[in-house]
Subunit: 316 residues, 2 copies
Amino acid sequence: MDHPIAIGVDLGGTLVRVGAFDVDGHLLGQHDASIASIGPEDGLHLIEDRIRLILKSVNSPTLLGIGIGATGPVESVYGIINNPYTLAGWKNVPIVERLNKTFNVPVRLENDADAAALGEYWQGAGKGAMRLYAVTVGTGVGTAFIVDGKIYRGVDGSHPEGGHQLIDPNGPKCYCGHRGCWESLISGPAISSLGRSAPNNSHLIELALYDPNRIDARFIAEAARAGDATAIAIMKKAATDFSLGIINIISLFVPDVLVLSGGVMKSADLFLPTLEEMLRTPNPMVPFDRVHIMPANLGYYAGLYGSAYTILSKYL
Amino acid sequence: MDHPIAIGVDLGGTLVRVGAFDVDGHLLGQHDASIASIGPEDGLHLIEDRIRLILKSVNSPTLLGIGIGATGPVESVYGIINNPYTLAGWKNVPIVERLNKTFNVPVRLENDADAAALGEYWQGAGKGAMRLYAVTVGTGVGTAFIVDGKIYRGVDGSHPEGGHQLIDPNGPKCYCGHRGCWESLISGPAISSLGRSAPNNSHLIELALYDPNRIDARFIAEAARAGDATAIAIMKKAATDFSLGIINIISLFVPDVLVLSGGVMKSADLFLPTLEEMLRTPNPMVPFDRVHIMPANLGYYAGLYGSAYTILSKYL
């Protein structure tokens, strides 16, 4: 085969990213485009166009296949995206069948958290780890578990949701139906909401020029670094709840590597000291010290790498 | 080979049980003996004697190997029991090497929770389940996870401890170093301790004839069934904490089957209604309804079956 490559497609709620990889894991080229609110028909055309563009730019190599990592819910087994929540109109979209017909190559579809974790396993922070657990803290809290280079799946191919583990029985209500799940306590919106409900006379509100809309998770993190007492308390609470969830994951999986990513983790400096302190408590049962906790290092490209890897793993 | 069999050894803190199994999973015979406080040297002799006795009673067949499930901590990889906590004097005991020399067959060692879960996978409640999660609630809370018929292990072969997941940040201190872990809330001793600290004028203390030592988990469960208000409240709290832990396990693993065992689970009638109620909350993220929750059905023999299976699995 001449120049064998795979295409990775990272389909988010606002942006689609398409890239070409060789079997050694080199990203040969990539494009992105806005896909927000254009619906599935125009969206699929856009993806097909970008794939053709990329194939042209890398001198029409042998295409081994196309891997897609898409914002969930997706049904990997059936190759269907069913996510009208963050991809308007994408209800029961058979993207695998469609791309397979267009390009006549194998096509695979995975949840975006799984794809990003696979990317970190292949070329990122958890390269080659036998057991890699990935946690993404952003608008939501997503988790993925990679064992021996394969995505761990639950019954009927379902995607486990570590972000909805229950941390505080008295915590806020979540759309998952329960109270005090991890996401309801440490996601960006959860942290913002703590800031926005701070007392009217707090210094935090003053910093925000009395406009609560300015108070998002990043604003609160910055205010905490600058010494604002309300912000420090909010970040300390979030760091504690973050650590409780990480300790549970370690106790239940004891992974070789735990990779952290997502917008909120850009403020890892405000989370990790609390986690390290809580992990220092000697635990005679679980070897906390043998688990490597590290930031993801492929950034926005993790999903692209992982999507391509779903195809390339067969050739390695 | 004539009559190929394997020996299973279930080594607990008070009793050792030895049994012979054919490759079809029939228990051909078993013996048990007290092993409490006799130390490793006499203990190993006792185990060897019981193995010889069993081999004789099943007409000296071809012995394929010996599997041991022992109360932890054990180091499976090195074949060493290192448990002076519940097996007095058993510090760094190379039981695998010893039995291998004596009987000249392959010998394997596993943690007892893992062995019992393997037993339920092979011939019990979770027969053949692709993903089986086992929870034992007794003096402690033990967990085991069997994937594709194999024990899931953490980094360096470590045994994960779902019993020490953190459920209530304000809960009681545990020897694991943290507060409000699952074991500290729902184990037999945890439930007893709630009963023993009930107010002096409670009806529960009266039922116990003012002797707090009578108040163990079973006593409290019986009092709850008989309508005692204090006991009902204690069991309701325990059932809620039990359910929070089960929901976390389902969210994180989505197993096909979740098997419950152990002394406290003999009062499953007081736990399951609360769990069922909490699982009825529709969760758009995790398919709670596809996870089969069921009692173990090999009872005291689960560990024996699983130990033998560590040898027989190669011949099936």
